[in-house]
């Protein structure tokens, strides 16, 4: 139980590490596609802080059934229920951002809508699970599985797809096929619902996780088959995504993003070219409002370029990462020669990195001027 306790003391904050970036993505995407600034910025920040602190004191809800006393269970149950409140604040703020805005249903925004439905349903079943008496019935059942897939897929993964479709033009310089993005979206959204809603039912009916078979007399089979069909629909969605990526790359010259701001976003990255120059901004911008690009007065152009110092690249981090993977793998499987070699490799990379003079590359003001003027030409 010490192991279980420690792993979840880490594991619960981990799932918040998964979801908070997704929340950040939605706070950027929703205002853009509603042409309206984010509702309740300050309360969003406070909600984030409260969620962060609370996320460290809920971990026992992963093992309510493992023998702790009612006092202990009750404390963690209440903390778990509390964390729904700031999360709800955030969801309401995104919805209030939409209110009286001008909503565009581009694919990033579609992912947001799917998130609201699936993550909220998943979150509500989380409230059910946060009650120890209920959890005693459904712990390690398919009800739990449906819950956390709703959170991770409906929350984190849809947030990732939202971010990917939103920022793709910025970091590559060309657009993804919007048509294929939509097809893939509808497959994922419908497929997810068809795959996981039946699992809630099955969980209540007594199906546990990690079953290798079940009795025909349970009459669960039609429900499992429905879920399987949902999974196949998702698979079709993934196929469309992969094909869409391939097709968009092939047709990239036709679909270049020349404006740098295809979605009319308000934040600073949309003020750069797509993709941005290596230094990002020729002159570090000064900002005094939350949506700088939607400021009422157009900024005065500045041409007082200076030399830009950029740190040089180093591959050592990548190499050390790969060697660490090899070291961990070889230690697990007792492959001594590989373990020793990769360990030595890590030491060598570390010493090289530790010995380098901190080089900087300088982009002269004249070069900066050339890059910037080529862009506005």
């Amino acid at each position: 139980m010490l192991y279980v306790n420690l792993i979840w003391a880490w594991g619960h904050p981990e799932v918040y590490i998964l979801i908070l970036p997704a929340f950040g993505v939605f706070s950027e995407v929703v205002p853009t596609f509603c042409e309206k600034r984010l509702f309740g910025y300050v309360s969003m920040v406070w909600a984030l802080i409260v969620i962060t602190v609370l996320s460290f004191i809920v971990w026992l809800h992963h093992f309510f059934t493992m023998g702790a006393s009612p006092d202990v269970n009750a404390f963690f149950a209440i903390m778990t229920m509390l964390i729904a409140i700031p999360t709800g604040v955030k969801i309401f703020n995104w919805l209030f951002t939409k209110f009286r805005g001008r909503v565009h249903f581009d694919s990033p925004m579609l992912w947001f809508f799917a998130f609201v439905l699936n993550f909220t349903v998943g979150g509500m079943t989380g409230i059910l699970l946060s009650s120890p008496p209920v959890d005693y019935q459904v712990h390690n059942s398919l009800f739990l599985i449906a819950h956390f897939h709703g959170m991770v897929i409906g929350g984190m993964l849809f947030g990732f797809f939202c971010a990917f479709t939103y920022w793709f033009p910025k970091f590559t310089g060309f657009h993804l096929s919007e048509r294929l993005n939509r097809y893939a979206f509808w497959c994922w959204f419908s497929g997810f619902l068809i795959a996981f809603m039946p699992l809630y039912m099955l969980g209540f009916m007594g199906a546990t996780r990690r079953l290798d078979h079940y009795e025909a007399s349970t009459e669960w089979q039609p429900i499992f088959i429905t879920a399987a069909i949902g999974a196949l629909i998702i698979l079709w969605g993934v196929t469309i995504q992969i094909y869409g990526l391939y097709k968009s790359i092939r047709e990239r010259k036709k679909n270049r993003d020349l404006t740098g701001n295809p979605w009319n976003g308000a934040t600073l990255e949309w003020a750069t070219s797509s993709p941005p120059p290596v230094y990002n901004f020729a002159i570090t911008p000064t900002v005094d409002q939350l949506d700088p690009l939607w400021a009422p007065k157009a900024p005065k152009p500045r041409k007082d370029y200076e030399d830009i110092h950029l740190p040089t690249h180093t591959p050592m981090g990548l190499y050390i990462g790969i060697l660490s993977l090899l070291l961990g793998f070889s230690m697990t499987w007792y492959i001594s020669w590989l373990a020793i070699l990769s360990f030595i490799g890590i030491i060598v990379c570390l010493v090289i990195r530790l010995s380098g003079k901190d080089e900087f590359e300088i982009i002269t003001a004249a070069e900066v001027k050339k890059i910037e003027e080529a862009r506005t030409a």
Binding site: L2, P285, A298, S355
Partner: protein, 208 residues
């Protein structure tokens, strides 16, 4: 639209004029290393907590009372403390760019650190040869993991010290080597800090 700057009428309440003192490489790297050190604290805290839970689970074998020696742990404590202080004195010499003094003080810190490891290895070897290795009981498992992890940190620190001192010997004190000495000394002081808790909770409370 022009995208070069976003200057416009400044908001009197905006605080965009205060420069961030941490934007230079020196401060950034020191802060970054400090953050790593904080995560290392969490790792040690977890290992301490594990030891606290398991230290009485001796599985019929010897307990801490049977195995630990106050004399050895006192010697180890004094050696490590002295090593931490000589490291600090080395930093004071680095402030004045006295290369030879830096090498001298850090050299002493290295020898003291190496003696610490030698004593600890002797202690561990003795335990293992008598059959009291980490596989003997949960108590010994958690003991070796906690104290062994600390010893591993010290050993890596010794190696790191050699690399940095070699640079100081070859290049002298410049902004890069000074920064590396600063970061190393944070690590070294931190290890002595952790040892305070090891000698208190493991050795002192172990013999009670």
């Amino acid at each position: 639209m022009d995208t070069l700057t976003i200057h416009h009428t400044p908001d009197p309440n905006a605080d965009t004029s205060v420069p961030d003192v941490h934007q230079d490489i020196f401060s950034t790297r020191v802060l970054g290393f400090w953050m790593y050190l904080m995560t290392d604290c969490i790792i040690f805290a977890t290992l301490f907590t594990t030891y606290a839970v398991l230290h009485n689970n001796t599985f019929g074998g010897p307990s801490s009372k049977d195995l630990f020696s106050l004399k050895t742990s006192f010697a180890e404590t004094m050696i490590l403390l002295l090593s931490s202080v000589t490291c600090g004195l080395g930093m004071l010499s680095a402030l004045k760019s006295r290369r030879k003094h830096v090498l001298g003080w850090f050299g002493i810190a290295f020898l003291l650190g190496a003696s610490f490891i030698a004593l600890e290895l002797h202690e561990f070897t003795h335990l293992v040869l008598e059959g009291n290795s980490w596989t003997r009981s949960a108590f010994l498992s958690s003991f070796f993991t906690l104290v062994g992890t600390h010893g591993l940190h010290v050993s890596i620190g010794l190696f790191w010290m050699l690399v940095v001192l070699t640079q100081v010997y070859l290049i002298g004190i410049n902004i890069d080597t000074f920064r590396r000495l600063v970061i190393f000394s944070l690590f070294w002081h931190f290890l002595d800090l952790v040892w305070i808790f090891i000698f208190t909770f493991v050795y002192l409370m172990g013999v009670l």
